[in-house]
């Protein structure tokens, strides 16, 4: 059974304008996304900026109220759950953010930061909590002397370790990792990725791993979903997606990654233009529209639900891109 099932999730934001601040349009940040995530599994989520990957992550932890669709976590429908009903669930779903400098309270010591989840969930006595904090620091590779220091005293990589310690404090089942290494130095990135892999193995965690670098995502994930303008256009096992991409957008993303090997320089099929605005997106296949594909018009009135073309490999069945 899967831990997380997302069905036809939509997250729209009103665009207000005019004198009365009426809603004049809607920004379709996430527009009909479905996937499931098993226990101990990592689903990677890639796409260019503005494709809705962060919004999707926030909707799943219910920092947002979804417009439509459903989110089932651990057998429970949490799509419209209120704050009271969400609190026990939040123990099991945590989040790691991109910029650890901005996601840690600068006026709190490391102990305050790591103790807070236990206090919110009313767990343990003061002494027990202190011991748990030390255990957490040990787990993420920080020394016990860190407890009374403030976030600014740490380097970027160490700060991200604090963010990870906070996320695993309550022994969650699922962690949404939103670009967890994009802000880190190259030599520190691999340390943090290794830490995430170790923790997953030891604690049986599931990850939704959001990033824009396809090489990082591929390295971390069992399956990868490619998002474009609020929709998943392809979803497949990581190796399969890399060896056998079917959607033109996936191919273009793969092709754009600079390879750290000067002997493999190649002529690229470059994508032209930028990601269009999710406010009033084009009908049909949005990517076919960007590429001005001759078959794009056929996709306008088509059902673009993902189709399984081989076991576990789903792709948007548009006539222009697949």
């Amino acid at each position: 059974m899967s831990l997380l099932t997302v069905q036809n999730l939509q997250q729209h934001f009103p665009v207000r304008g005019g004198l009365l601040r009426r809603s004049v349009a809607s920004c379709k940040a996430v527009d009909g996304v479905s996937f499931s995530l098993g226990e101990g599994e990592t689903l990677g989520l890639v796409g260019e900026s503005g494709c809705g990957k962060t919004t999707l992550g926030k909707a799943i932890v219910r920092l947002l109220k979804p417009t439509a669709g459903s989110i089932q976590f651990d057998g429970q429908d949490i799509t419209h759950a209120g704050i009271g009903a969400l609190r026990p669930m939040r123990r099991h779903v945590q989040m790691i953010f991109q910029d650890p400098a901005e996601s840690l309270n600068p006026r709190h010591t490391v102990r305050d930061i790591l103790e807070e989840p236990f206090i919110v969930q009313k767990m343990g006595t003061k002494d027990e909590r202190r011991k748990w904090v030390l255990d957490l620091l040990d787990k993420v590779g920080l020394t016990a002397s860190s407890t009374d220091r403030f976030p600014f005293e740490f380097s970027g990589g160490q700060r991200q370790r604090i963010g990870i310690a906070r996320a695993i404090a309550l022994k969650p089942k699922l962690i949404i990792c939103d670009e967890p290494v994009s802000a880190l130095d190259v030599s520190v990135q691999s340390q943090v990725l290794n830490l995430l892999l170790d923790l997953q193995r030891d604690m049986g965690l599931s990850y939704l791993f959001i990033a824009h670098g396809l090489n990082v995502v591929k390295h971390m994930s069992d399956r990868v979903a490619v998002m474009y303008l609020g929709k998943i256009v392809e979803l497949a096992p990581a190796e399969e997606l890399y060896h056998n991409p079917r959607h033109t957008y996936t191919k273009a993303l793969l092709d754009a990654i600079p390879m750290a090997d000067p002997t493999k320089r190649r002529e690229r099929q470059l994508l032209r233009g930028d990601v269009p605005s999710p406010i009033n997106p084009p009908a049909g296949c949005a990517f076919g529209h960007r590429m001005k594909h001759p078959n794009w018009e056929q996709s306008v009135n088509m059902d673009l639900t993902l189709k399984e073309i081989s076991p576990g490999h789903f792709v948007q069945p548009c006539p222009c891109c697949t």
């Binding site: 900026s49 990135q189 390295h219 754009a256 320089r265």
Partner: protein, 326 residues
Amino acid sequence: MSSTILQVENLVTAFDTDAGRMTAVDGVSFDVPSGKTLGIVGESGCGKSVTAFSITRLLPQPHGKILGGSIRFEGRDLVTLPLDEMQKTRGNEISMIFQEPMTALNPVQTVGRQLAEAILLHKECSKAEVLARSIDMMKKVRIPAPEQRLNEYPHQLSGGMRQRMMIAMALINKPKLLIADEPTTALDVTVQAQILELIADLQKEMGMSVILITHDLGVIAEVCDEVAVMYAGRIVERASVFDLFANPLHAYTQGLLESIPRLDSKPKTLLKAIPGNVPGIADFKPGCRFAERSGREHNQAHLTIRPPFVEIAPNHFVEHCPICVS
């Protein structure tokens, strides 16, 4: 030997702070061959941007100072060049583009006006001529509908378009040397590929030399001819791009190359990580600066005496710490 357009010899740049003098660039030497691209790769705080700001003499004043060494550009030493001559050179013969195009562009002026300023600072032109050159340059950097874009403000452009605008401003006077400081770091991979291709095409067309500063070894491998690897204020290794990737000699270069997740590596396997953190400028040691993180035993002499920078094979230079280079 091909000719070189820029020779940097033993450059030392420091900042005066409340905590004393901090040496950000500590004796760096390299050449930029004419018409080629030199990549400078390193992590945050390694001094790669300070090196660029030293060449363009844009160090924050009054704290930033070039303490020693020379920067020879076409026979002139930029370190001792009088300020007014430097101003004539900068933006004209040597141009620079920056990482974050939103902060590098003026938000309250139209992009057309900023482009015109770049032209008029170095040459007297009629209005019509400025307009024609602006539109021509914007076409070169592949900005669609340049006549309309000229009247827009930076916030109306997307990240990729803003970076194209920066490139247009930098190249409008046909510089001989372009310094690109992390030009694609703030951009998506797809847009990054477009910008890198654009720079390479314009380089070919205009015959200019490029210094590309980045932390991304993938970018280096794709577009550079020569590479300098910087660590903690020094160049630890310098070679042609093929030599460096095929035969990295310094432990730091090797570590960096091994730590990147590759598309052809097995998913969910542990990566070879470099332990520890990038040292801060206050913790720079006199000897081998990578010693702590190398995982190899260094003796006292290695930690206190600066390793010599030697040409170990033709055009392959390395900071020769006997422990880190084996």
